[in-house]
Every structure is written in structure tokens, then in C-alpha cells.
Amino acid sequence: MIYQGKQKIWSDYQKEIPDDHYFYVRSCIRQNLFPASEKTFLDITRNKLGKDFFETEHHTTCGGIAYHCDTIPQETSMTIIARQFALMHKYGYENYVCSCITSFGLYTETLETWHEFPELEAKIKDNLWKTCKLEFAKPKYLAHASDIIYKYRNLIAAQAKYKLINKKTGQPLRVVEHIGCHYGKMFPSKSVGGAEYPYVLAGMIEAWGGEVIDYPERRHCCGYGFRQYHIRSNRGYSLSNTHKKFESMEPYKPDMIITNCPGCPYFLDRWQYVISEMEGKTYGENGHGIPVFTYEEVAGLVMGYNPWDLGLQMHQVGVEPLLEKIGIPYDPKEKYKGPGGKDIGRPELPTCGCL
């Protein structure tokens, strides 16, 4: 791998990311599965970095999952999106940031389609007025939340307490980055680093001291596939694709995985559990799995957040070995506590016991 070659490509794909004043929109999946990540995002940007990220309770899902499960027509999702944009406009923002990759892809696609087919834009504008009596607007800048963290990666590094470095060996951690498909594959120019060698997470890893691993199936989808996961009998597809990725990354012995997509960390995490149950195989060291993180979780870790405040207890693959590797202190007793240290029991261990 020739690093300079990649750098050259990265320099071709530097999208413009405004520094401040964003209208923040949440992700359905992340709110359910990684609520602490969104909380951390807002905490870092607002409190640690002093930026303006506005959120309103009136925004909703963008309908992306329904759209990609093909249960709602394109016009419906476009009108919902127009409503979100209208809210942004209503609250006086022109920079739009979303926490979800599916949304990000869908927003980008929608804006492109409107651009290409103005008659469709006019129709949506009309729909929006008729249904919500809202004024149609389009964001000046559209960003994904990972773009923001990428943008602030050096600011975060400056405040970091820890680095992605093996405390014992002093070697950088080997980090696999997994980019959500809809981040750059549809519109490479709207992403940091393009579709083939995305830099959005690689930039964070580099800034925080880790080493990016480039394995053959790096670009492959985690296997979510919308309907291929939401219907139980289809989940073999989802599982098989993740399996393929793990088989491919295995020889590189990665220490951790960072993702920028809502679903991917869940799938890369849980399918490891399923594979270990089905096949008895694990991909990490000493029979452990490879811990999977959101970028906010990693940012939080290097900035010294309490791991359990970051929601790392909501991962099936245990993060403790990695925390120890970096040298981040944690209280194992606190891991599964409820609010205010309330005892709410703890989940059973998986059959194989070592995840």
C-alpha cells in the first residue's frame, strides 16, 4: 500500500464543511441502539468545543428505512425530507447535519434529483405546503455527523487524554474503519475522501494515534440490506456479508473497528456474537471478539469520558480488553448499573462466554 497515492486521492475529495451553526437531526437506529453516541456528539460539539448545534423535538425520521424497504414511495420520503429542511429553515439554520448515513444518502440523492428534475422539486414544494403549510427550503451545506467530528478531529486530539496506542507496546492500535455504504458510494464527491478510500474515519484514526488497516473487503457492505435484516428469514444475507468482512480482516489482527453508520456497529457487533454461537469462531485476541465503536464513542474515549457514559455497555462484544490496552480506567461494577447506580441486574453471558 502506497500511502502517498491515497493522500493524492484524499486531496481530490475535500468537501466543504462549515465550522459552526448546524441544525442537528437524529438517527432512528442510533437513538435506539446507541443513544449515548448522539448525546456524546452534542456534548463534545456544544460543551467541549463550544459550537452551535441546534435540535428540535419536531423533527422526525426521514423515512429512509421505509424508503429502502420499499414500503413508502419516493415522493413520500422526499416530502418528509422537505419537511425536515423546512424546520431547519424555520429555526434559522442553513447548515444541516444528520446523525444517520441512510438519511445523509437520501438527502444527497433527493437534492441531486431535485436539481436534475426541477418539476419534481416543484411538486414536493407543493406537497409540503399542502400537507404541512411549511415553507420549502434547501440547506446550504449538508453534512453527516462524522464529517463534523472529522472536521474537529484535531481539536479533539488537542483535548485528548488518551491515544489509540497500545500502552504496553507503544505501537499504534490497528483500527479497521467501516464506512456506511450510503455515505460515499452514491455521491463520492459529497464525502470526505471519496468512495474508494474514504478519509472521514481514517482521518480521525490518524489524528488520534491509530493505524488504519486496509483489508480486501474494506469497502464491502456490512450486510444490513434493510429488508434483508428486518425480515427474520432474510438475515442469513446480512450475517453472511459481515462474516465475509471478518474473514477478510482476520489476518490483519485488528484491535478495534470504527464505523460511521447507525446500523453497521450493531451488525458488526451482533453478527460476531451470532458467528461465535453458530460456528464457535471469534475474531479478536484470546477468544474475544473485535470491539466495534461509533466515531463519537472513540472520540469520547480519547477525550477521557467514562466508558459507561458513552454507552459501551450496549455492545455485545466486550470493550474492556481494548480499554485496558489503551489504558483507560473503568469500573467493571458500574457497567450494567441503571441511572444513579441503580441495580438493574446484568445480561446473561453468551453461550460461548468470551464476547
Partner: protein, 340 residues
């Protein structure tokens, strides 16, 4: 004596210069690089029969005896002056040319633009030009000793809207098949794969080349465009394509991947031509000719002529024919101009 400026010292520029010189014109040949020959000088052997490029080039160079030529020279400015063109070279020479011939040739498509193939990123990905250079010099770190599998990717930067080139570069298929045979001669034990969309073996002897690649050299032709190349932990390349003939995705791990970079209009030539309002066409970037059948050597501007690959991908013999045709076209033009 009438002055004719020929821009580009590749095969067509040299051939046209030689012809014009024999017709009695004062020819000034301008070449931007330190040597004559253009891409031909960098090539080892030529399809279909494997003639040595060097021999052809030698003959051409001896043929331009008496032609004034400047190496390391660029056209600094060019502008119309009545029916003539005032050409100023960056070496200080100024010529009032009665006719200008663009034989500016082509640029090879920059293979690194096809990011998914990893040229310049993966260690064992090279281009057709790199391979020719290796055939000549046997010096390229990227080519491992005794590779087990070697792949050729056709249509790199050709027939590709994303790469900005919708057209077919015409010569890459024959070049790939030729190179596949040659590399099999170098490494008889290697398996060689050609990934193609269509095999455009249009010329005399080309189809035989294809047949012998299959039969004599056992080259495996896979009908499917390479979708993605990845490097594995051993620095081998994992190539993914669809075998479209069986409708199944396919992968193969190889030790060397050769990208068949296509042709683009020479960017330096475009810059010069732009000064006198001669431009590339929107659909493919190659210079616009007076028409598409009959007057291929004439530009829309009087006194400006073309030869070779600056008006579209061409084989070497095609370019040489055009060079001779261009010489004749210039002669006819100047004669007619004198009569008026």
C-alpha cells in the same frame, strides 16, 4: 519557400514532416520532450506481429533528414496573422507559418483516476506503458519475480463516463492481447487473465493474435469489467469482476495487474490549439475536424491541419497514413491559396 510548423515529434509529426520536406517546404518540427518518437519511443514491440518499435522509429528518424526540428521546445504563443500564423517558440524562435500541423498525439489516461484499481496505491498495479517500459528495460520494482497470476484490465479510462471518456481507445484490446502473450513468454508458468467487455480485434492479423493468445498461450479471457481491486496482507491483488458469460461474481488473487490505459487528447496540444480557437469536441475532447469522413486532416480554421491521435484514438499505421494525407492536404491547400 513556405514555412510549415509541425507541432509534435511523434510518428505522425515526423512522417508528415518528412513528406512535406520532400515536397520542398520549409518544415519546422517542434517537440516538447528531449527526444523524437513520442509514445513509440517508449514502446517495445508492436502488434500484431511483434515488430520492434525501435526499428520503426530508427527508420522514421533517418527519414526526416533535412527537416529542422527543435527538441525541448514548446509553442509559447500562436496567433493568426492574415492567412498565416505567427508561431513563437519558448526557445526564442519565431516562425511565420503558412500552415500549422497539429500532430500532438495523445496522453495516456491517468490510471490513478480509476481509484478502485489502485494504481499508485497498490504495489503491483502497473499500466500498459509501464509494462512496455519493463519489456525494454526489465527494470520495474513492481513486477515480482515469477508471478503466478497476472491480470490485464481492458478499457481503463475508456468507455467510461465516470472517467470522462465515453469512447473506445481502439488500440488497447490488441495491446492487451499482445502484452498477455509477451508476458506469458517471459513467465511461461504464470496464468494470465484478460478482463474485457468486448474484444475489439478489428485489424488485419489481430484476430489471429487473439486466437493464438487463447490457443498457444492459454490466456484466459473473462468477459467482465473489473469492479474492484484490493490488496491483501501478502500484497497480492484481489480482483473482483463478474464473469458475465456465466452471470456469476468472480474473484481471483493475482501478483501483477496491468491496466490498459486508454488515449486522451494531448492536454498540451489542446492548450496551444486553444490560442487560435481550435478546440476539442465536447463528447470526447479530441480536435474537431472539418467533417467526419472526407476532410479528417483539416481543422475548421484554414491553414490548420491534423494528423494522428489528436483527432481520436488511432493505431500507428492509421496515424502514419494520416500524416501522409495531411502533407498532401497542406500541399493542396497552399497551391490553391497561391492561385487565388
Amino acid at each position: 519557400m513556405k514555412n510549415i510548423v509541425v507541432i509534435g515529434g511523434g510518428p505522425s509529426g515526423m512522417e508528415a514532416s518528412a513528406q512535406l520536406h520532400k515536397m520542398g517546404y520549409n518544415v519546422i518540427l517542434v517537440e516538447k520532450s528531449p527526444a523524437l518518437g513520442g509514445h513509440l519511443a517508449k514502446w517495445d514491440r508492436l502488434f500484431p506481429q511483434g515488430v520492434h518499435a525501435g526499428n520503426i522509429l530508427e527508420g522514421m528518424i533517418s527519414n526526416i533528414n533535412g527537416v529542422k526540428y527543435f527538441l525541448n521546445a514548446n509553442v509559447q504563443s500562436i496567433n493568426a496573422l492574415g492567412k498565416s500564423y505567427n508561431v513563437i517558440l519558448d526557445n526564442g524562435i519565431t516562425v511565420l507559418a503558412d500552415a500549422v500541423l497539429f500532430a500532438t498525439g495523445f496522453d495516456l489516461f491517468k490510471a490513478e483516476k480509476k481509484e478502485e484499481y489502485g494504481y499508485g496505491i497498490y504495489e503491483h498495479v502497473i499500466t500498459n506503458a509501464d509494462l512496455e517500459n519493463w519489456f525494454r528495460t526489465k527494470n520495474d520494482q513492481r513486477i515480482v519475480e515469477n508471478p503466478k497470476r497476472i491480470g490485464f484490465v481492458h478499457c481503463v479510462g475508456s468507455r467510461d463516463e465516470k472517467a470522462g471518456n465515453r469512447y473506445c481507445s481502439k488500440v488497447c484490446c490488441a495491446t492487451a492481447v499482445k502484452q498477455a502473450c509477451e508476458i506469458k513468454q517471459e513467465f511461461p508458468g504464470a496464468e494470465v487473465f484478460c478482463f474485457y467487455m468486448d474484444l475489439r480485434m478489428f485489424g488485419r492479423g489481430y484476430e489471429d493474435l487473439y486466437l493464438s493468445a487463447q490457443k498457444e498461450y492459454g490466456v484466459r479471457f473473462i468477459r467482465g469489467r473489473v469492479s474492484e481491486v484490493a490488496e491483501n496482507i501478502n500484497k497480492e491483488l484481489v480482483v473482483k469482476a463478474e464473469d458475465t458469460l456465466s452471470g456469476k461474481p468472480l474473484k481471483v488473487t493475482i501478483d501483477l495487474l496491468v491496466l490498459m490505459s486508454g488515449m486522451q487528447n494531448c492536454s498540451a496540444g489542446v492548450k496551444v490549439a486553444g490560442q487560435i480557437g481550435v478546440a476539442g469536441m465536447e463528447n470526447d475532447g479530441f480536435f474537431e475536424t472539418k467533417d467526419s469522413i472526407y476532410s479528417l486532416q483539416q481543422a475548421l480554421k484554414p491553414g490548420v491541419f491534423f494528423a494522428g491521435a489528436c483527432t481520436g484514438p488511432k493505431t500507428l499505421p492509421d496515424s502514419l497514413h494520416e500524416a501522409r494525407a495531411a502533407a498532401l492536404a497542406i500541399h493542396t491547400y497552399l497551391q490553391a491559396r497561391d492561385h487565388q
